[in-house]
């Protein structure tokens, strides 16, 4: 690992100051991606600004029909939260599929979403449920947030504070794992939020995306049958040693149908 300065600010204002003073500083959340990256010397930030001590970035609460989760909330806290289990169990179940249990004891939802790994799980959850990303200065919709490979709409020096999930009428996530890395070879999150049906796919392109043809078919009839036979095509799909583009295209169709069935079995709130 290269040398770096380490800061542990006590509040959000202090963290923003540190970022403003040093353009090469990076935020440290749970560190489950960043620290292995630094160990491989794939990055050389001048400083790490550790967000772990900032209470403004933690906590899970509901505000009307929204579930709000602080960016520094660890996966394990989401999985074990009675509030998440009661209001948004499909999210708790998706979080339980991230990484391995040791990663889930440290990793954070905000760290994962701000990293925007093309094979991450929670990007699909946020996009399918039309989550809102609240930062120190503005709100960004999920449709705008995920810009490109490992790139988000967050600006230099901007800090993600919390993510707000509208509570879906029904929702489910189905993941086909790469057995070695446990990342999603393909993952599909289907959600119906206030009558609006959204299908988000991760692992298959440079960034998470919505499968609009499926959404339109499901809007007419919410059933696995409604999307059967619809061709997703292979344009833009990742084609690598783990899976061909055709294989991924097939997985998108199969997993979408499974996610629809799972969402239908689960009644209220994507149970």
């Amino acid at each position: 690992m290269y040398q770096f300065q380490y800061h542990r600010p006590k509040n959000l204002a202090e963290a923003l100051d540190l970022l403003a003073q040093d353009g090469d500083a990076k935020l440290l959340a749970g560190g489950q991606t960043l620290l292995p990256t630094l160990r491989q010397r794939l990055a050389a930030p001048s400083a790490l600004v550790d967000l772990a001590g900032i209470s403004e970035l933690t906590g899970i609460s509901t505000k009307g029909e929204l579930l709000s989760i602080g960016a520094m909330t660890r996966y394990i806290e989401i999985i074990e939260s009675p509030l998440v289990q009661a209001t948004l169990p499909s999210l708790a179940r998706a979080v339980a599929l991230v990484g391995d249990p040791l990663v889930r004891n440290r990793g954070t939802i905000g760290g994962s979403l701000a990293n925007n790994d093309p094979t991450a799980d929670l990007t699909a959850a946020a996009l399918a449920m039309h989550a809102t990303f609240v930062t120190d200065r503005r709100s960004i919709s999920a449709d705008e947030f995920f810009v490109d490979l490992f790139e988000t709409a967050l600006e230099q020096g901007e800090i993600l504070v919390r993510i707000e999930f509208p509570l879906p009428d029904r929702a489910a996530y189905v993941k086909f794992r790469n057995p070695a890395s446990r990342y999603a070879l393909v993952g599909v999150f289907v959600a119906e939020v206030h009558g609006d049906i959204r299908v988000a796919v991760t692992g298959a392109k440079a960034k998470v995306f919505r499968e609009h043809a499926f959404e339109a078919a499901l809007q007419t009839e919410f059933s696995a049958k409604a999307v059967k036979g619809l061709d997703v095509g292979t344009t833009g799909l990742i084609d690598d040693l783990h899976a061909s583009a055709e294989y991924r295209a097939n997985l998108i169709s199969v997993l979408t149908r499974r996610a629809i069935s799972a969402a239908m079995i689960g009644s209220h709130r994507g149970a």
Binding site: Q3, F4, Y6, G31, Q32, L35, L48, A52, P101, N105
Partner: protein
Amino acid sequence: MPDVTITVNGKREVRSVETRTLLVHFLREQLRLTGTHVGCDTSQCGACVVHLDGRSVKSCAILAVQANGSEITTIEGIGTEEQLHPMQEAFREHHALQCGFCTPGMIMRAIDLAIRHSEADETTVRRELEGNLCRCTGYQNIVAAILAGAVAMRPHV
């Protein structure tokens, strides 16, 4: 170099560390607690698992400065040679190792698992062990040991 105060196996340690020092290297090289192993270079194997404030974590994916102010338990802190921890005893009883390199991480993970899932069945144990790799055993005896260890760890009524 910043100073850190970390309570390790009940003992308060105040040391100077480089900011880039990983917790696992702090434990092994500065405190000479070499029971915590480094099995890979990519944070995938789980040989370095310790408990940080009661939760099992990979000490190779945490900086020592991040652990400042926290409580760490390592494999050296759970039992004695005269009185092994019930999970250690279960690993011995079930011969849950061959080369033994992954064992400290396995046991630290298993203890956390058993505390959180005291009624764990085989499926749960295998799922909850996904972050720990063993390249010798094929896991069969490890799973058997954890099931037995979890029973032994249940509070007696």
